[in-house]
Symmetry: C2
Subunit: 332 residues, 2 copies
């Protein structure tokens, strides 16, 4: 079926060791031999079998990327960054969507262990370090994605979500909003929890009333649901802050369908600043995170950990989110 190193050796009338040297240490092979072997390789269309090499080495040139859902534009960008970062170092990336299901996460972790990936970029839906310790024990580096690592067992690349929640409320409060709905997903999602902390802090400091509306998933359909819930509130808030842009776009659609004027009656602020925030019906103000940059940085960090080995120092990199002001929160 497939051409092996042995076949090349036979055809070029050299030993397997020489062929291997041609591939890996060409400088120690005599030029004449080198050329002959290289020609034979091309002739037979030989490509080394990665398994055999990796079996020998005990590690691969692959990493795993576990995210809740690539079709969430934030993670799409992160994934794109990861892929570019990995590609730069000649690594291939396994894409894994966990759908925020612990079960799927578990399954994927098993698959990745079996594939002997070199490292894993992980954005866990739920915190459970045992699996991460297990991977570590198996020599698989783990870098946390979009989530800070409190101890110093792993690298992490995250965004300061507490800060993000805080500046969002401070900004709305400065615009004169004192009755704000906070639309978010389950508390078990760390980013939600942290942004919530920032929200609560700023609310307390600014004397703002917060109405929390929690939905099970953070997509735009759930945002429309949230809009209904907002409309049923005893007193209508003057602003809505959403835990991500998909929710915000859903809320916007839901409110506009109910003839609520945005931003005149209700301002809407999103989170993530996805590409399309600016081309929404009413361009959406949002808290911006450098998603692509996060992906590249995380891949870099993970791979330098993989390649440095012992000498590696774990790092916690934290990006600061930024407010991007658009129509949906224009001053009244």
């Amino acid at each position: 079926m497939s051409v092996s190193l042995r076949d090349v050796a036979k055809s070029a009338k050299v030993s397997v060791g020489t062929v291997s040297n041609v591939l890996n240490r060409p400088e120690i092979v005599a030029e004449k031999t080198l050329n002959r072997v290289r020609e034979t390789i091309k002739e037979l269309g030989f490509v080394p079998n990665g398994f055999a090499r990796q079996l020998r080495f005990g590690n691969s040139r692959t990493i795993g990327l576990i995210v809740p859902d690539v079709s969430n534009p934030f993670f799409t960008e992160v994934a794109r960054g990861v892929e570019d970062g990995a590609n730069k170092r000649d690594y291939a990336v396994f894409l894994c969507n966990s759908d925020e299901s612990v079960q799927k996460e578990e399954r994927y972790i098993n698959v990745l262990i079996e594939q002997q990936v070199r490292g894993v970029l992980f954005s866990p839906s739920d915190i459970k370090s045992n699996r991460m310790e297990e991977m570590k024990g198996r020599g698989i580096s783990v870098t946390l994605l979009d989530q800070e690592q409190k101890g110093n067992n792993h690298c992490s690349v995250s965004v300061d979500d507490i800060y993000g929640g805080r500046i969002a409320i401070e900004y709305l409060s400065d615009l004169g909003h004192h009755d704000i709905a906070w639309v978010c997903g389950p508390e078990s999602i760390p980013q939600v929890a942290e942004r919530g902390i920032g929200v609560a802090k700023a609310a307390k400091a600014g004397n703002v009333k917060i109405e929390t509306i929690r939905v099970p998933l953070m997509n735009s359909a759930q945002g429309e649901e949230a809009a209904k819930a907002i409309l049923e509130l005893p007193t209508l808030p003057t602003a809505v802050f959403c835990a991500n842009d998909l929710l915000a776009l859903g809320v916007m659609r839901g409110l506009m369908a109910a003839k609520v004027k945005v931003p005149d009656q209700i301002s809407i602020l999103g989170y993530d600043d996805i590409k399309f925030a600016s081309s929404a019906a009413i361009p959406l103000s949002s808290i911006s995170q450098p998603a692509y940059q996060i992906g590249v940085t995380a891949a870099d960090l993970l791979l330098s950990e993989c390649e440095d080995g012992e000498s590696h120092q774990h790092q916690q990199i934290k990006f600061q989110p930024k407010l991007v002001e658009r129509e949906s929160t224009k001053k009244r």
Copy 2:
């Protein structure tokens, strides 16, 4: 470092063959032995080394997905579908962004061959079957994605792009537009070429004048460039048809920035019907393709080819695009 089958055998005081049987044919192992070995496996935290197994078998449980760019929402959805389809059968997916560069494609194909993927889902930027034949020769199945295979050498899952281009122009023509700008990427992209054929056909039939505006990349920044080009046209067209929604959104932004009223002065029609088409500043009419479904179907097709082996019959599956009407082409 890692626990091997041999370690388990030693610890459980059986032979390697028996441990292997416990894993793969538990029914032929005596119950007592079975339990003892299973316990030892758990105790030592043994996970079989995928490489060794795959080296033996000569194939893996992985597939490759090569797309121009996952951050293009159409491909994001496709990727999501592929991932789900593969996951259902316990396969893992390598994500590869070619950025429409033949060079990157070539590199990725090499990586995938080296990783001995079982199959590849490929959306080629440029048609060159030699690499595909090569993969085939190496026992790697290839299914074409979003592109029809003329011969019968591979499966393919595609959308009828000629039809899509045709219905777009027919629709605009029916609305009374007879001077239409066609904004698209390089002719070398097959989808662009095909949609262009449909456009030309319908234009001829409907006596519509088409002004082609070609840009190097199909993103929204290039759309804004295209908008400038449109504004410099000797006579302003009354409608713009774009080869994808990103271009269309860019064009929309560009035109609106120049105070052109959409759709009153110029109607805009996109292609792909991405999630955000409906929440654009002016909700975007678009030609809709079942992206997620395409992904799932392609993965299914590829994996059934991989698993059926000889008995497999190549299939060409073709989805029909549909027009989705929104504000950006409302009747005047």
